[in-house]
Assembly symmetry: C2
Homo-oligomer: 298 residues x 2
């Protein structure tokens, strides 16, 4: 297993990885590098004193870092990759947690970078950002999609798989292209829809605004949770997987129009058939233990 | 306060009312009337032995029922209203929990029914149906919209308000028309969208289906929760508030198209501005304690 892990970008995901590793294995050393000027204070306040803070990526060699996990917004990858490439990383494996994969693979290949890069994507998250919101257990039972490059060595891939499994994750191997296709459906479109619904509601008569909040328990609140996700992160995701998302949005609009037509015609039978179809999917998600748990009253 | 309460339609909502009343006030008697042939067995199994089962609505007079709460699907209201109207209910107040109000008011007025009817709508629910899924506390801190009719007496309205408040609900008075407008935004459109997204996803390459389930934690699962709601109930709601919902669906489609245009043009600034706007609404809902609580891992 890895002995010295560096987490670049120590936000909610980064700190959740650190917390889980700390709980699982006391002998692994964890280091963090982040733009936040108060990182050290925040880490100490969050009872993460075992995490040592890097002042620069040049410390990678001094500390014999054997595993690097990039957890920054994806727009920062270019400059991070560039810096990593200037360091001798033959003994190090690099992975990331980014939500799109085709764009990242492209950057890496076009620039002919040499470090050992095995992209991954843990499908786990909450809508709150910041290292203070991370927690041990975020990854339990969740899936991690690993998208090896053509030149990735089996040994390296297996090490990355083993690492994520040690955080209680399930792993799947996929091409970057397939990853982006699947995720456009299970994550990107749902987020785009949530943002759009909240915007639609806000555009309505502003006198509704307080009512919107008061009566949100009727369904609206579920969408605001997703739409409360980090805006910069999601702009990057939408732009990175733009064409897939546009295609799906069109399919979704067709579905909405068909629904509306059925309403307009008062077609009770068609409506019921549609509504009954969807229940099945929810049951499958619950069985696969991917549903999470919603408590209606806080 | 009421002494003898009859709940017509003893499902998730009905049983949650019973459970909460039982916990709050040991002296109130609760009766249930429902189509389910095994109602008595199910009630006893659910530790609700204090609830007595009516064989017919004719028992209303014998038991001095002073408060009736209709908790059935809305399509059953017509026949229930008809039966209630044949009974002398001068000493009884009738309310309901239906999710649309204009249609119900219309039925009552057109048929010139005489019983004391004060429609209400508790904005609380979970996606699971059936009396076994009800629980004490479902209504805590949630809002209840009461839509009195023109002829409703103040004394009766106040009694209904007092009842819902005794279940720890907050109450608001609204016209039926306003209710349906507000709810189309906070509940009906969100449900229509959830159903449509799940249908869109199901239409995609069926080989995706297991992936859809596995990777649903990226956002999709939140929609399946809402889309797992009772199909018959939601067909009735959609049809009852059809024109409001169609109007809103059009607004929502425009918003989606604008989003898609911004993606197509790669307009990063516009995208970010949009995404930032929505965060505010979530914060307000949390402050108003209407957010519920989501635990990402079950």
């Amino acid at each position: 297993m890895f002995k010295n892990i560096l987490i670049i970008g120590f936000g909610m995901i980064g700190s959740s990885i650190a917390r889980t590793v700390i709980k699982k294995n006391k002998s692994i050393k964890i280091f963090a590098f982040d733009k936040s000027p108060s990182l050290k204070i925040r880490i100490n306040k969050s009872k993460l004193k075992r995490v040592k803070v890097f002042k620069s990526l040049n410390e990678i060699k001094d500390q014999n870092i054997d595993f690097i996990i990039i957890c920054t917004p994806m727009l920062q990858y270019q400059s991070i990759f560039k810096k990593l490439n200037d360091i001798d990383l033959r003994q190090t494996i690099v992975t990331d947690v980014g939500s799109t994969k085709v764009n990242i693979e492209k950057i890496y290949i076009q620039k002919k970078y040499q470090f050992n890069f095995i992209p991954s994507h843990p499908i786990a998250g909450i809508e709150k950002a910041g290292l203070e919101n991370g927690f041990d257990g975020l990854f339990t039972n969740r899936y991690n999609i690993i998208c090896p490059l053509k030149k990735s060595s089996k040994t390296h891939i297996n090490k990355v798989i083993k690492f994520w499994r040690s955080l209680n994750m399930k792993t799947e191997i996929m091409s970057s292209k397939e990853h982006d296709k699947v995720l456009s459906l299970t994550s990107h479109l749902p987020h785009l829809i949530s943002y759009s619904l909240v915007l639609t509601a806000m555009k309505k008569d502003t006198s509704l605004n307080s009512k919107l909040v008061k009566f949100s328990a009727g369904g609206f609140r579920d969408f605001t949770r997703v739409a409360g996700s980090d805006p910069e992160m999601w702009r990057d995701i939408f732009l990175a997987n733009s064409s897939q998302i546009q295609k799906l949005t069109n399919n979704f609009i067709s579905e909405l129009k068909e629904f509306s037509r059925n309403l307009n015609k008062g077609n009770s039978y068609n409506l019921l058939t549609k509504l009954k179809k969807t229940k099945n999917v929810r049951d499958k998600i619950i069985k696969a233990r991917q549903a999470g748990k919603f408590i209606p009253n806080d």
